[in-house]
Symmetry: C2
Subunit: 335 residues, 2 copies
């Protein structure tokens, strides 16, 4: 972000043919995009959505409403074009890429699915670290590689999504460790746990936090112990996107946990992240508060896959359009 470009963008928003401030949050988004892209003609297209899929050893503790096999089935659904993110990416005018970062069962060759398997799911983190050091580095690199491909394709706005049955549990564990909160403050139903299920999930996460006691001090060590391959890939993608100067839209609970890891590892990453929406997963508001930004949408979504971020993409496109295309009062002869 370039301060001089930001100042010029703020001035431009005062000079466009509208009462100053009358486009509210869109003006703030426009100014951020202009500053990040270093231009008074910001644009978001081409937009790329990358969904990272992986499985979680902790599912053997019975922390999800769905069995782990559904991760593979949903990857096949992505490949066939039938999932929510397929429809939402198309509707938002975004390219979609799916990455297998480590589903338990190898899906084999599937059209549109990039194999970058770190392993057949993580280890159960109530028994030991979710990932070895090599695996965590490899998973971060999966995200980095996705941003490399996006950059080569000219991507101006990056969206990371995820699929991984059980992954609200590692996301809650990560957030609890990094925010120093008891998991009861953050745990929610995920895809559909009842009250007893959420209580059990809290206990499982407490066991993990006790096992990996001082993990919260180091964000990447916390990620290694409590995260997942797709969560690490997202964190790696946010870090890489910021490094490469590509703004990113953050999705819901899992994505925001990954974003928190990225920002704790490198605070400069925060400048490059737009929060797409606030999720219905109850802990998301705490995560959003930790990132100190205002989400664009509040529509009660709780699906993941990048769905909320993809739904927010047109708002960033609109913000860029007003900044780039509106006439100033002087240009319109309105002085």
């Amino acid at each position: 972000p370039e301060p001089a470009v930001r100042q010029a963008a703020e001035r431009r928003q005062q000079e466009l043919t509208k009462p100053p401030g009358s486009l509210g949050h869109l003006e703030a988004i426009a100014v951020r995009l202009a500053a990040l892209q270093g231009t008074q003609a910001p644009r978001v297209d081409p937009v790329r959505v990358v969904v990272f899929a992986a499985d979680h050893g902790v599912t053997s503790e019975g922390i999800s409403a769905f069995p782990a096999e559904v991760t593979l089935a949903m990857v096949q659904n992505f490949a066939a074009g039938g999932a929510a993110i397929n429809a939402l990416a198309r509707a938002a005018g975004a390219e979609l890429e799916v990455v297998d970062a480590g589903v338990i069962q190898d899906p084999g060759r599937l059209g549109g699915v990039i194999p970058q398997r770190v392993g057949p799911g993580t280890a159960n983190f109530v028994e030991g670290p979710a990932m070895s050091t090599d695996q965590c580095v490899a998973a971060l690199d999966v995200g980095r590689a996705a941003v490399d491909r996006a950059r080569s394709a000219g991507t101006r706005l990056f969206v990371a999504g995820e699929m991984g049955i059980g992954n609200t549990t590692p996301a809650t564990a990560l957030a609890s460790a990094l925010l120093r909160l008891d998991p009861v403050e953050l745990a929610g139903p995920g895809t559909g746990l009842d009250e007893a299920g959420v209580s059990h999930k809290v206990k499982v996460i407490r066991r993990a936090l006790a096992l990996h006691g001082d993990a919260g001090a180091d964000p990447l060590e916390t990620l290694r112990c409590l995260g997942g391959f797709e969560i690490a890939a997202m964190a790696g993608a946010y870090i890489a996107a910021a490094h490469d100067g590509i703004p990113a839209v953050v999705d819901g609970f899992i994505a925001t946990a990954a974003a928190l890891v990225a920002v704790r590892a490198n605070p400069a990453v925060a400048d490059w992240l737009f929060l797409g929406h606030v999720s219905a997963e109850p802990g998301h508001r705490r995560l959003v508060a930790a990132l100190d930004d205002t989400p664009l949408l509040d529509l009660g979504l709780r699906l993941g896959e990048g769905s909320g971020a993809a739904t927010a993409v047109p708002l960033l496109r609109s913000a860029a359009a007003i900044h780039r295309e509106m006439a100033t009062f002087a240009e319109a002869g309105l002085t």
Copy 2:
């Protein structure tokens, strides 16, 4: 809206490859669109935005931060493509039409501006009715004609916007009369009044309400006494769109006041209206509550022109896309 199609749409939302309810408000929008369009393959395109422009006699009471001449200048800006709604309609993939429903000074021939001048601005409603009966009927017909053109063009989603310096004053007067509220409960800064300006605006509206004492009982008579040409055109457009089976997205404070007139005149209109956003104009929340629907966006916009509704269009497009394009669990072999 067809009850059988609605029930089938609700069932379909339960069968799509996602945890039931996980797409929140988008699911409700999808079900409404399916029911309104009588199909499980709802679509919003082509989308049409029509901006109705007109002037207001009450501006001579000094109720606006901008002079009345700005209405004409903004119509010229629409024609030149430099206003917010030009950029936002383009970004939302919508066609844009501008209608002169009665700007004080005739703009003459301007590309893309349809002349449907009811008169050179309304009369000052603190001295008498804003419109004659003939004028009010003609202004309602301006909206009807816009919907006729849209229907001929195959429009599946209609957005009405407005431009008219001073028009938060008639909108507040209308809303006060119809909701039986003192204007102090609804009046706000509009394009930028200070506190003293808002107090003055409240007094002007109180004088008008005293003059047209029992107008609130009849919505169209209230419209005639306290409305404006562009507000009547919007009300006429909402009534016509509902009659013709075209869903419409409602913009901010002025548009919602027009929608309230339409719904009071014909309660069945409400089914066809989606509230695009909640405006920063403070009285808008009261108007939204009166229409008993949840706005899609809350971005602090307060510009008018249809800007908030146009910004919300992609969300309706996304809702239609998930309903139309997602696979069911059975189709995906996920049972």
